[in-house]
Symmetry: C2
Subunit: 194 residues, 2 copies
């Protein structure tokens, strides 16, 4: 099953020949993670990259037992812990759904890029796009009210609202689950018929 998910992912890139894909599938590190598994803990030195092939991950901090969600990652999104100087993680990373992850490791990745130069280009483009998106997200977050954040989410990542428990969404938006329910009810009532 894991192999199939990886083959499907790699097959979208026309630059990779099928022989290369077969070879990569044998070499790459893929990990199956059941729902609600803790992957990284604060304080842990982690120099990996977790790329979601299937499923959903959540990043959060916990202050006095109160969890605050800081990010969700779904298919084809990556949580990147690569830095020049590895530092202890400052938040938790856990699965929200049964997930399949492609694990990036600096030395192994470097070997892949030398052996498969096409993969280096593909990865660079994905990371560039990801950086642009993350920078834009940060800007949008800083300038939005909790309600505006909900409307953004509804427009840009409607799938998340279906997949993730409501209390996690509320904590990500910076509101109580009750406020989120209230806003959702109001929006459903206002929606013009299509």
């Amino acid at each position: 099953m894991m192999k199939e998910v990886l083959i499907n992912f790699l097959s979208q890139f026309k630059e990779l020949a099928s022989a290369q894909i077969e070879e990569l599938v044998e070499l790459m590190t893929v990990k199956q993670v059941p729902k609600n598994t803790l992957i990284v803990k604060p304080g842990q030195i982690c120099n990996l990259c977790y790329f979601v092939l299937k499923g959903c991950l959540r990043q959060f901090v916990s202050n006095d037992g109160i969890e605050k969600t800081t990010a969700f990652y779904v298919e084809q999104e990556a949580v990147n812990f690569f830095t020049n100087q590895p530092k202890p993680a400052t938040s938790f990373l856990a699965s929200v759904e049964d997930s399949v992850l492609l694990i990036g490791q600096p030395e192994q990745d470097q070997y892949f890029y030398e052996k498969f130069p096409e993969l280096a280009t593909i990865t660079r483009r994905m990371i560039e796009a990801d950086l642009g998106k993350t920078q834009a997200n940060l800007a949008k977050f800083i300038t939005s009210s909790p309600k505006e954040r909900y409307l953004n989410l509804l427009e840009e990542r409607p799938d998340l609202l279906q997949r993730v428990p409501q209390h996690m969404i509320a904590s990500y938006l910076g509101m109580t689950p009750e406020s989120l329910s209230r806003i959702r009810r109001r929006i459903v009532h206002k929606k013009p018929p299509k």
Copy 2:
């Protein structure tokens, strides 16, 4: 002067031979931007990457004439507008200081990476580290109060506090310039002697 800044930047990478650096300096697009120059406006379709060789850039939005700063970028930091589908910019980008920028353009970059494979590796590593940093920043921002944001800034980017006008810092932290002055005064008084 611009050439010198670029040579200095490229020379830090031992993987690049001096002949390669000379060639790159002739080919790369570098732009000198005086202080307080508007570089990108909301609505503009921009598919470039602005890498700061020297100086400081600021990203902000303006609602009814009130500016809200969303990011600062100094030496060796990049504002990335590369995406799979170019979208209109949602914020302003302007220089805070006289700046020298290295301009990334997808097709030109691709040409460089084919001609100078070492540069592809260098760039990928920088973008990976940048992505990790931006993701961590977003998480930290979401979970911090304005005062905690100031303390983070003081610890992690003390240079910014010296280089950027106070009202811009305050707007970045989500507080009034008066609150920022108050917090700064309190911290100066509390500081234990070293």
